[in-house]
């Protein structure tokens, strides 16, 4: 304990007392990341789903198993050759037969070497191969699975399946191969000992069941301690990471002293859990040594006695000595295999849970690519929702002529984003149809649909990589000229050019080294380079400074020129600049028309517009309800 105080003295004087733990102060994530670590030992569904991934490796697996058997055989043979050599040395007087044993020994260890090499290499390779295959299959599945699944599943959870869970299955397949060898080795040793000398074999083997029992009693307790240690360590590291990522807030709020004390609690818990786990791991050593001491003593006292009685050859006694050392390793691996299997089943369950999620949006067998698109969009009586019986959009019908820009406006929650997502077939409609140039989008390939429609999302998402790669994201064969032209058109070229590496500048994660407005403009350039006949755009709501705002407005005009535009508009200037306006409320179309028409009609649009808010999304819900009620009563 004095050590902790010493640290405190060495570094700082703390004005927080040990007992001083504020009720609302915490460090580290308060969300438990733990998932079920161990499942059933045997889960038929998991194994059935897993099997197809193993099948491509059946040849290697078979070969590996043969190698395992050969290896185990040679391992059992080695003490036998030693016994033969010694017995021979004791009985014969000449060295010629000794050379024969030398050759035999050389042959056995050569086989041992080769088999060892083959089994190790194949087992590792199959394990690695499976790991990557499984991960690839899962990743590919996630590329096509319905977006509603992706919306409700956190990235962190999916990542832990793609990594931790897949690793558990890899470990399972690898260790299973060796487990076969261990079972064979153990049985082989037992058979050999009993054959060499039955009574002595039986007495020596008495420690085997004891070892098993001890292991099985020890395992669940030790496992709790090991999991506890792992948990404590990851909590501590989580708190450390939080302290680093949130350091600015922590300093701004002067929480350093309190956090130090709270982190100290975690670090100490970690220390005690680690030591507890160590105690569990170490306690096995004297137990195993005691048992092998018993076995050796039996061999020496009983076996030695038999040698004296001439009922046992000295070589056999020596062979026993060597075999006695070989009990523990296979028993340890076999009992460990039990835990590995439980873990693999739990992981497999999670993996296949994801892989079993149906793919809802798929190309029809006879789907054809959309070609020579003019850009007419038609919503024909569309009804859609995410949950059964709770439609978000109802009976939506409107059309957009080629080259026209239609603004979609409406209060928050009116279904604007769902409407644009449907145009791109992120989801399939419940009823009705969406057509492009008269073709139902469910009858065309998704690939060609993606090439026909460009989307700009509200939150620009940029990938780690260079600015150039990001602008070229869809159109990787775009020339440098095209990229520069697009960047100039949206007014971001000068900014990019002023960076030390220009277009080759690396973006930090999420484009963190650019401002919000600049990220927006890059996502515009990305859409411009893609040059699709139809553009679906969700205007950003966050207010950006007036300077950037102006640039973005100009870029938007440039982006919409000469193509069909479906725009979720938040800014009045964008709304006024569109050809027609679709006003949505509670999932239904309230009215459609140009700005002037709608203003003349004096409906919801005109009333909301009159309130003079910067954006329709800003208008408080109560006010919207108020004016629309007025509307319905008049």
């Amino acid at each position: 304990m004095s050590s902790q105080n010493r640290i405190r003295d060495e570094f700082h004087d703390y004005d927080v007392q040990e007992t001083d733990r504020p009720p609302l102060a915490v460090v580290g994530s308060q969300i438990s990341r733990d998932e079920e670590l161990f499942g059933k030992v045997y889960d038929p569904h998991v194994l059935r789903r897993f099997l197809p991934y193993v099948r491509p490796y059946s040849k290697q697996l078979l070969l590996a198993l043969i190698a395992v058997l050969v290896f185990t055989g040679s391992q059992i043979a080695i003490p036998l050759v030693i016994r033969g050599t010694i017995d021979n040395a004791l009985t014969s007087e000449e060295t010629s037969s000794l050379i024969l044993y030398g050759v035999l020994f050389a042959a056995v260890i050569l086989v041992h070497y080769i088999a060892n090499f083959v089994q190790e290499k194949l087992a590792s390779e199959v394990g690695e191969g499976l790991l990557f295959d499984l991960r690839r299959a899962m990743f590919a599945h996630l590329q096509r699975v319905s977006l509603s699944f992706m919306d409700k599943t956190e990235v962190g959870r999916l990542m832990s399946r793609l990594q931790g869970d897949v690793n558990a299955l890899q470990q399972f397949i690898e260790s299973s191969i060796f487990a076969v060898g261990d079972v064979v080795l153990l049985s082989g040793v037992i058979v050999v000992l009993l054959t060499l000398n039955f009574p002595l074999g039986l007495m020596t083997l008495g420690i085997v069941p004891v070892l098993f029992v001890v292991r099985f009693l020890w395992l669940p307790r030790a496992r709790d301690a090991f999991i506890g240690a792992r948990h404590a360590s990851s909590t501590t590291n989580g708190a450390l990471a939080e302290g680093i990522n949130g350091v600015r807030t922590i300093q701004a709020m002067a929480r350093e002293d309190t956090n130090y004390v709270l982190f100290d609690d975690k670090a100490r818990t970690n220390l005690t859990s680690q030591l507890r786990a160590t105690r569990f791991a170490q306690i096995m050593i004297p137990i195993v040594d005691t048992l092998s001491g018993v076995a050796m003593a039996v061999v020496v006292v009983v076996g030695g006695g038999m040698v004296l009685n001439r009922t046992l050859e000295l070589g056999v006694m020596i062979a026993f000595i060597f075999y006695v050392q070989r009990f523990f390793a296979p028993i340890r691996s076999i009992t460990m295999q039990y835990s590995i299997m439980q873990r693999a089943m739990a992981s497999g369950h999670r993996i296949f849970e994801v892989m079993d999620v149906k793919i809802n949006v798929e190309d029809k067998a006879d789907a054809e690519p959309l070609a020579d698109v003019r850009g007419a969009i038609e919503f024909d009586n569309v009804t859609f929702g995410y949950e059964r019986d709770r439609p978000i959009l109802r009976d939506i019908s409107f059309s957009v002529a080629p080259g026209e820009t239609v603004a979609i406006v409406g209060p928050t929650g009116s279904g604007k984003t769902s409407l644009t997502a449907l145009a791109h077939r992120f989801y399939d409609v419940w009823e009705g149809a969406i057509k492009i140039d008269g073709q139902d989008i469910r009858d065309v390939t998704q690939e060609s649909l993606g090439n026909t429609i460009s989307m700009v999302l509200q939150e620009p998402f940029l990938f780690t990589g260079t600015i150039l790669e990001n602008i070229r994201y869809r159109t990787r064969d775009a020339s440098m000229e095209q990229v520069v032209e697009a960047a100039k058109a949206v007014g971001i070229h000068d900014v990019i050019d002023s960076l030390p590496d220009g277009y080759e500048s690396e973006l930090e994660q999420g484009g963190g080294n650019l401002s919000q407005g600049q990220r927006q403009l890059i996502s515009f350039a990305r859409a411009l380079v893609a040059d699709s006949p139809i553009l679906v755009l969700d205007e950003a709501t966050a207010s950006i400074d007036s300077y950037t705002e102006n640039v973005i407005q100009k870029a938007l005009e440039r982006l919409l020129a000469n193509r069909t535009g479906l725009v979720i508009a938040h800014r009045l200037s964008t709304i006024r600049g569109s050809d027609r306006i679709v006003v949505l409320k509670d999932g239904q179309i309230e009215e459609v028309g140009s700005h002037d028409e709608l203003m003349g009609r004096g409906g919801l649009y005109a009333k909301l517009y009159a309130m003079n808010y910067a954006s329709f999304d800003d208008i408080p819900r109560e006010l919207v309800d108020e004016v629309s009620n007025e509307d319905s009563t008049t």
Binding site: L24, Q30, A89, F117, E125, L240, A252, Y260, D264, Q282
Partner: protein, 575 residues
């Protein structure tokens, strides 16, 4: 640091030597037992004496085995305990240091890199104690004693029995070092793969919007192929060396067996000694293989130690003076006196602020506006000393902020920053971050002012709702209101809004500002915004460009002056 735990370390070494001695005695006893039995067989002496000798050897063997186990457990445990305690100390030291290093340090340090240091490098140094130092002692003692014992028994056979040691040691070290080299590469590839997967999943809408699934699969496959290539190479190194080491061991065993067998025939050694040689070889096999681990842990500890201590040796520039007193706030007069700020980039100093002066006191509001990059945020960051001004001074009630304690300063000044960091904890834990002793009433007062209380009330778990990953997902505006509540709760004397209402709609912003106004007689408000409507009522508006105040005055006078402020107002009013 090992020396902080002399008792444990000495205990570990003593236990270790004891374990090694018993380890060595076991093969010797086994050999003796064989000789006992054999001698009698040859000479046909009295059976009784031979049996007694066997019994004694058996008991000795048993005893040695038990004691070997007990001492092995002891030295492993003590070594681990010392390692874990050192790990604990280092962890606390690095945590403390990181918490205290200033903004400038964190601006340049990569947070992922710091986390690695705090996690892996602490582990590296910790393991060094147990696997490094202790194993070195263990191996030297074991091989040292063993060599002496075997060479004395028979030098030729001893040499043969030990002949695998240098080969295995060499291969083990070699393999470890090349695995270590590719480890770094593998980690890079794997973290690249992780990033590819993670960004794909985060940006899945963009991926689908551009129908880029094929491209994403290509990226994934390429990243995978690179990782897989290194993995296969590593498997190759591991398997080639591992199997070769086993083979070398058995070759020497074969040599001992044959040469020793010949010697036995010629009566040069007893069969018991031969057994001892063979048994001792089995004992040596595993520890010698661990030479690789040993070298690795030394190499790792050296780099880890360097990396750790380079952080621990850092000193923050922002420090309290030795005689710093707590800030005492009376009228809360904030004064910027010809403040300039520049930062070093390479050899050149980049000016950010030049000669900024203004003054405000309790109840007043200062508005700051200007184009991006004008230096507005820098003004905000200088007040709580996130950075220090390079010239001029900032005073609060006449006290230079460099002369007061950091804690008192930061308790008096709240800056609501643009980058929002929320802790993965309950809403109440987040809101009460600056004052974790706050009671519910105090929290509700703050959330009411920030227009957030009604929303929180509508959540099923109310104030204990978790925020962040897997918690409730807050909109940009809600997050900003949360940090405003967090700052209000501290009841600061000076409150700075650094463009912190951008994601909040204008109507809500007005409500927040007016409810803050109710308390604002208690504090100085500094509002940095690009939304002019937020600044209309400020007592003084500073228009900043190029790090200088280019226009100043209240709204009406600035409008009347017809300068840049007036032009911007035109632009926004007609936008």
């Amino acid at each position: 640091m090992t020396f902080h735990y002399p008792a444990q370390m000495i205990g570990a070494v003593i236990a270790l030597i004891a374990a090694v001695i018993f380890q060595i005695y076991i093969p010797q006893f086994l050999g003796t037992a064989v000789d006992n039995a054999y001698a009698l067989l040859q000479t046909g002496g009295p059976q009784e004496a031979a049996r007694r000798a066997l019994l004694t050897t058996g008991l000795l063997l048993f005893g040695a085995s038990v004691l070997r186990g007990v001492f092995t457990m002891l030295h492993n445990y003590l070594g681990e305990a010392v390692g874990q305690h050192i790990g604990y100390e280092l962890r606390m030291a690095i945590y403390d240091k990181i918490q205290r290093l200033d903004f400038r340090y964190h601006d340049h340090a990569h947070s992922g890199d710091l986390i690695t240091r705090g996690m892996l490098d602490v582990e590296g140094v910790r393991l060094f104690v147990n696997t490094g130092i202790k194993r070195l002692i263990f191996l030297s003692v074991l091989i040292g004693f063993g060599t002496v014992r075997l060479l004395m028994a028979n030098w030729l056979l001893g040499l043969l029995a030990l002949s695998f040691v240098p080969i295995v040691g060499w291969r083990a070290i070699n393999a470890r070092l090349s695995l270590r080299e590719s480890w770094q590469q593998l980690q890079e590839r794997l973290s690249f793969l992780t990033r590819v997967m993670e960004e794909n999943l985060q940006g899945i809408r963009v991926v689908r919007a551009f129908s880029a699934q094929t491209h994403e699969m290509e990226k994934f496959n390429q990243a995978t192929a690179e990782a897989q290539a290194i993995t296969s190479e590593r498997i190759g190194i591991r398997v080639r060396n591992g199997t070769l080491m086993t083979f070398a061991f058995y070759v020497s065993m074969g040599l001992v067996l044959i040469v020793g067998g010949g010697m036995t025939i010629r009566g040069e050694i007893t069969v018991g000694r031969l057994t001892e040689f063979l048994a001792f070889m089995t004992v040596l096999q595993m520890p010698v293989r661990q030479l690789g681990l040993l070298v690795n842990s030394f190499a790792r500890a050296t780099t880890s130690g360097d990396r750790l201590f380079s952080v621990l040796d850092e000193e923050p520039d922002i420090r309290e003076t030795a005689h710093a007193a707590a800030l005492s706030v009376t009228d809360a007069v904030l004064e910027f006196d010809s403040v300039s700020f520049e930062y070093q980039m390479g050899d050149s100093a980049i000016p950010v602020l030049s000669d900024v002066s203004f003054r405000a006191k309790r109840g007043q509001t200062v508005g700051i506006i200007g184009p991006p990059g004008a230096g507005k945020s820098t003004i905000a960051h200088l007040i709580p000393r996130f950075y220090d001004a390079t010239a001029g001074s900032i005073q609060i009630d006449g006290q230079d902020i460099r002369e007061v304690t950091l804690k008192s300063l930061r308790n008096a000044v709240s800056v609501i920053q643009q980058d929002i960091f929320l802790f993965t904890a309950g809403l109440e834990n987040n809101i009460a971050y600056g004052d974790p002793w706050a009671d519910r009433d105090k929290i509700i007062t703050a959330t009411n002012a920030a227009q957030l209380h009604n929303y929180i009330g509508s959540l099923p778990r109310g104030y204990s709702t978790l925020v962040g990953e897997r918690g409730v997902s807050l909109s940009g505006g809600q997050r900003q209101r949360l940090v405003i509540a967090r700052a209000l709760l501290m009841q600061p004397s000076i409150m700075v809004f650094d463009d912190s209402t951008a994601a909040i709609d204008a109507a809500t912003e007005q409500r927040i500002l007016s409810s803050i106004e109710e308390h604002s007689s208690d504090m100085v408000s500094i509002i940095i915004s690009h939304r002019l409507s937020s600044l209309l009522h400020a007592d003084e508006i500073l228009f900043v460009d190029g790090g200088r105040i280019v226009e100043r005055g209240d709204h009406d006078s600035l409008l009347a002056a017809g300068g840049r402020y007036a032009a911007l107002y035109e632009l926004q009013a007609n936008g």
